[in-house]
Amino acid sequence: MASTVATDGKEHRNGEEGADGEPPVEPPPARRLTWRIRLRRDKSLILMTLPAVALLVVFNYLPMVGTLTAFQYYDPLDGVRHSEWAGLDNFRQLFGDPLFWHALENTLYISAVQLVLFFPIPILLALLLNSVLNQRIRSVIQAITFLPHFYSWVLVVTLFQQMIGGAGLLNQFLRQHDMGTWDFMTNPHTFVLLVTSQVVWKDAGWGIIVFLAALSAIDQNLYEAAAADGAGRWRRMWHITLPGMRGIIVLMLVLRLGNALSVGFEQMLIQRFAVGHDAADVLDTFAYYYGIGTQNYSYGAAAGIFKSVISLLLIWGANTLAHRFGEDGLYRK
């Protein structure tokens, strides 16, 4: 995602320099065409973008204006325009709400655990897969590992339920051998491990793609030269492979930190019933249940604003940090 944006900025800079490759206009004008001519030239291009822009305006920009409800006592009958203003009341109430702090705590906790347990796995798998020399085997394994990325969360949770749930395959086996039962799916204490293993199962293979691409961009001659100089397998990995992957690892970390407050909304929603809200409530589900469930829309919107603002700060902070360490982060400095 971000690298597309990153290259984008670069393109503009190059693009500004000249009008090469454009059809000659007569008489040859000064370097810049007037906007009238450009409008006539580009009007169909502009027209083409309008359907997408219209959808974004209605379903993305209108809701941004709609965040005003967080500063109101919103009443569906009055709408945003006629509801009574509340100032910061909703936020005051929010910050005094232990359930909100609990949801925030859960979010940060799950996020931190996933950072430690999930983040390294695609990198390790990519290294492992990259060392498989048979091209065919490698691409088959890669294809299989990223298949679950396209499963819906309902499907993933259902499959987990069938494998390790109370009536699942694992317990079926345990029962038949009189070893008791072990229900991983409804235990709130191990819930964080459950959701992390689901994320690993679903998305580790997808994560591999980016790292494999970075690996394939490393100059192969370096390896031969280093080996000729007597560097062993591990030294080559330390001095060639890891430096070659550093940029992409930092980029993925920045993105991960920017998303630290979004921990699997659907995933939590689907399993909240089984493990209870104490373990499964995160910021998103909090906004959903207390906003839409109890129809206290303003309250839910306030929780949403809190989340967006902190997320923006996080992504900005992580990006600044990446630049400080001399990496590209989201865009080239």
């Binding site: 973008t49 822009v53 204006v65 299989i144 819906s152 969360w153 839910g300």
Partner: protein, 294 residues
């Protein structure tokens, strides 16, 4: 990658790890498929999911597809997926091409409108209120239009058009072809791989629609798509209307029998399995060059 010949132990450990990874992904699917085509007897003997084929029957599929909520849900899902993907693709391809000429009028402004939405959002509640105010509650379009545009997908398409396809486009402009004509007869035929990949991204997204259903039609069970039916009748184990069965005894006598539940799982899984090899083929070309190298 250049390497000296691996040691036998290293080779073995590598093979074992990758083997376990592959099994972890494939075994659940295998069990689910096998159970969905097993007879009630063999499911009873296995005590639940079936690992070894024991008696095969396609009854669950016949039951599922001859009527009832699952068939209805399948039709809904197919409709939402087809219509949604069509809308998304038309809108995205047009927008991507419209933005592909780097010095066109308003191009930077329009691009900014797109990119801002990747980082800033109004959030769940305001979006819900906008859709409700527009009368989307309980309507199928509420499952499609709010998520019809993926800016990421547009940027992938655009980077292809302004990169790989740029020379052809320029040549066509020199010949005086209109932009619509260029898009139709130059751009689309030369960008089949990336178009295919993006189409599948959208299609999978619509096929997996879940949360919007919960948001906009949580109580209208006849309008539910497949994922929501899976959630209600398999995940939560709610009673399936029209499925009074003797699969289990006691309080759960109305939950669908396990083979039927697993057949629903297979149904949601199947299209992804079917399009996957095709997707895989295009991935190296379409996705990697598009998204990662920009």
């Amino acid at each position: 990658m250049w390497e000296e010949p691996p040691s036998a132990a290293g080779q073995g450990a590598k093979g074992l790890t990758l083997g376990v990874v592959v099994l972890l992904i494939l075994v659940p699917v295998y069990c689910v498929v096998l159970t969905s085509i097993s007879t009630p007897g063999s499911i009873n003997r296995a005590g639940g999911l079936v690992l070894v084929p024991d008696g095969i029957t396609f009854d669950a599929y016949t039951t599922m597809l001859t009527g009832g909520p699952v068939r209805q849900a399948l039709l809904v899902t197919l409709g939402v997926t087809l219509v949604g993907t069509a809308i998304s693709m038309v809108v995205s391809v047009l927008c991507a091409y419209g933005l592909s000429r780097s010095r066109s009028l308003g191009h930077r402004f329009l691009l900014m409108i797109l990119v801002v939405t990747m980082f800033v959002s109004g959030g769940l509640i305001p979006t819900f209120l906008v859709v409700s105010d527009l009368g989307g509650y309980g309507k199928y379009w509420a499952l499609i239009l709010p998520s019809a545009v993926s800016v990421f997908n547009i940027l992938v398409l655009r980077s292809f058009y302004s990169g790989t396809a740029a020379e052809l486009i320029d040549a066509a402009r020199m010949d005086g072809a209109s932009e619509w004509r260029i898009l139709w007869s130059v751009v689309l035929p030369t960008s089949r791989a990336v178009t295919a990949v993006i189409t599948l991204f959208y299609a999978v997204g619509y096929w997996n629609t879940f949360f919007n259903v919960m948001l906009y039609m949580p109580t209208e069970s006849t309008k539910w798509p497949l994922q929501y039916v899976l959630y209600e009748y398999v995940n939560l184990g709610m009673n399936m209307p029209g499925q009074v069965n003797s699969g289990f005894g006691g309080a759960h006598s109305q939950t669908a029998p396990l083979s039927l539940q697993m057949a629903v799982v297979v149904l949601t899984l199947l299209p992804i399995m079917l399009v996957f090899p095709f997707m895989q083929k295009h991935f190296a070309k379409g996705m990697l060059t598009g998204a990662i190298k920009g």
